[in-house]
């Protein structure tokens, strides 16, 4: 790391410790009883044409991982998260190729897989999406061979589990799951907002965001996918299915390029990392709302399905009082 780069660490514990300067190990201790979510930024990790700087993205990810676990190296961090050498890790990505391109940046995926490969062989890592063609369109090279990280879709994943109605990549092949979402705002406007308000009983924005809780819609049997559009609480239910709930070891959002309004891009240059998907989703809303307020756009209310994930399915914490947000900012 160049000497000119400085790292600012801040932790917000229900806003009472906001701005306090602490070391990563201390952060883990201070936040022990809460769900820790790391918000790491390096504005120079991405340029204004959506080109990521691989070296900076790698450092960004490593720093976030180590801060989250309080460990000093990637292998230690992964072991802390429960990874063992025999594990097969499935990484669910969300390839957004429609209008604004918000597919996961290959540089971040590479940083993640290289880091995992300090503990498990690369071929025990599967990056998957609904269809292999989705991955291809997002810039990944499909690979089902016995060499290197595997990239393929549910369409080549051995079918679906009839009980959980999820791809067998999740239910059978993988022993651990990483939820790699995109920081995508889908706030309602126009006709859909009016319809959504009726459907979800007055919730102002329907999904609000397509982030961690929506990512596993792409793990569903095809015919079930569109059902969630009229039932946002289904997102919480999907995340509670045994394979997803029990195997998820990390959630990570790619916010190098994000949207803070539907269809309006924003080069945020950051990632959100944690283990609790509900807390991470709540912090993702917080991050987006900080930008919306700065841009004079009304903030999004936390939608019902996030609260349902907490209160009904006990998947994690949706209350900021029970979340320890750790901010890491890298700048030269």
């Amino acid at each position: 790391m160049p000497r000119s780069r400085s790292t600012l660490l801040t932790v917000s514990l229900a806003a009472t410790l906001a701005g306090a300067l602490l070391l990563p190990a201390a952060l883990a201790t201070a936040a022990e009883s809460k769900s820790t979510v790391v918000v790491a930024r390096d504005p120079q990790s991405i340029d204004a044409r959506n080109r990521a700087d691989a070296a900076r993205v790698t450092r960004l990810f490593e720093r976030a991982l180590l801060a989250f676990t309080g460990k000093g190296s990637a292998p230690e961090a992964w072991r802390e998260l429960g990874l063992v050498p025999t594990d097969v890790v499935a990484i669910k990505v969300n390839c957004n190729d429609w209008t604004i391109r918000l597919s996961p940046h290959p540089e971040l995926v590479t940083a993640l897989t290289k880091s995992l490969a300090t503990v498990i062989p690369e071929n025990q890592i599967i990056v998957y999406e609904r269809r292999t063609s989705d991955l291809k369109n997002a810039g990944f090279t499909p690979n089902t061979s016995a060499v290197g990280v595997r990239f393929f879709g549910n369409d080549e994943g051995g079918g679906y589990d009839p009980e959980q109605r999820l791809t067998r990549i999740v239910t059978k092949t993988a022993t651990k799951i990483i939820n790699l979402a995109s920081l995508k705002t889908v706030d309602g406007s126009g006709v859909v907002a009016k319809l959504t308000n009726l459907v979800v009983g007055g919730s102002s924005d329907g999904f609000g965001m397509s982030c961690f809780l929506k990512n596993h819609v792409g793990s569903l049997v095809d015919e079930d996918m569109s059902k969630c559009h009229n039932d946002p609480d289904m997102l919480a239910e999907i995340a509670s299915r045994p394979a997803i709930r029990q195997k998820t070891m990390l959630v990570l959002a790619d916010g190098l390029r994000a949207t803070y309004q539907r269809g309006v891009p924003w080069y945020w240059g950051g990632i959100i990392l944690g283990k609790d998907p509900v807390a991470a989703e709540t912090v993702a809303f917080q991050v987006v709302n900080e930008k919306r307020v700065a841009e004079g756009v009304a903030p999004l209310a936390l939608p019902g399905h996030v609260r349902t994930a907490d209160a009904t399915y006990h998947l994690g914490n949706s209350s900021l009082e029970r979340i320890a947000r750790v901010d890491l900012t890298t700048s030269d």
Binding site: N50, T99, G190, H229
Partner: protein
């Protein structure tokens, strides 16, 4: 008819066949929309796809198979069918053309005005019909309406001229 007359008729038929323009298969069609050619240097990446609604699936499935939850807004605006064409040139640059049949001109106009489709911040662009464009580097996105169709074009901004030319061509392809 004598042999001489038969010969004349045969000659006329043969000549007509030779002088007629060769029958060219359109690149992509959707009911009233017929795209005859692709922009110079581009080829179809795959066969054009046609999507329908959950009630009326088409050969490629429903709009949700293509754009997931993004399909809701088009259903709300009366979507009947969607043609999706993806093209690529030798430099691996991708050009997308989507044609939404929204059942009526009023639906198509309302869709263009809906920020759930054409996000805030778009600007009008002159392609001969009502149209709006977003330039979010590196993307260049263009929406136009003609008749009951909403047409969406997307590419990187280095292809902005190609997008505008294809927009004019697409508009002309709608009767």
């Amino acid at each position: 008819m004598g042999l001489e007359s038969v010969g004349v008729v045969a000659w006329v038929v043969a000549a007509a066949a030779l002088s007629a323009p060769p029958a060219v298969k359109p690149v992509a069609t959707l009911d009233g929309f017929v795209l005859q050619t692709l922009p110079r240097g581009f080829a179809l990446e795959s066969e054009p796809e046609i999507y329908g609604t959950p009630e009326h699936k088409e050969k490629s499935g429903t709009v949700f198979d293509y754009i997931d939850g993004g399909g809701q807004v088009y259903i709300a605006h009366g979507l009947r069918k969607l043609l999706h064409v993806r093209m690529r040139d030798a430099e691996q640059r991708v050009l997308t053309l989507d044609v939404f049949d929204l059942a009526s001109p009023a639906n198509a106009a309302a869709a263009l005005a809906d920020e759930g489709i054409c996000a805030p911040g778009s600007k009008p662009v002159d392609v001969g019909v009502p149209a709006r464009v977003h330039h979010y580097p590196p993307e260049y996105l263009l929406y136009l309406v003609k008749g009951r169709f909403l047409v969406y074009l997307a590419a990187t901004d280095e292809l902005a001229d190609v997008v505008r030319a294809l927009a004019r061509q697409a508009a002309a392809a709608i009767p």
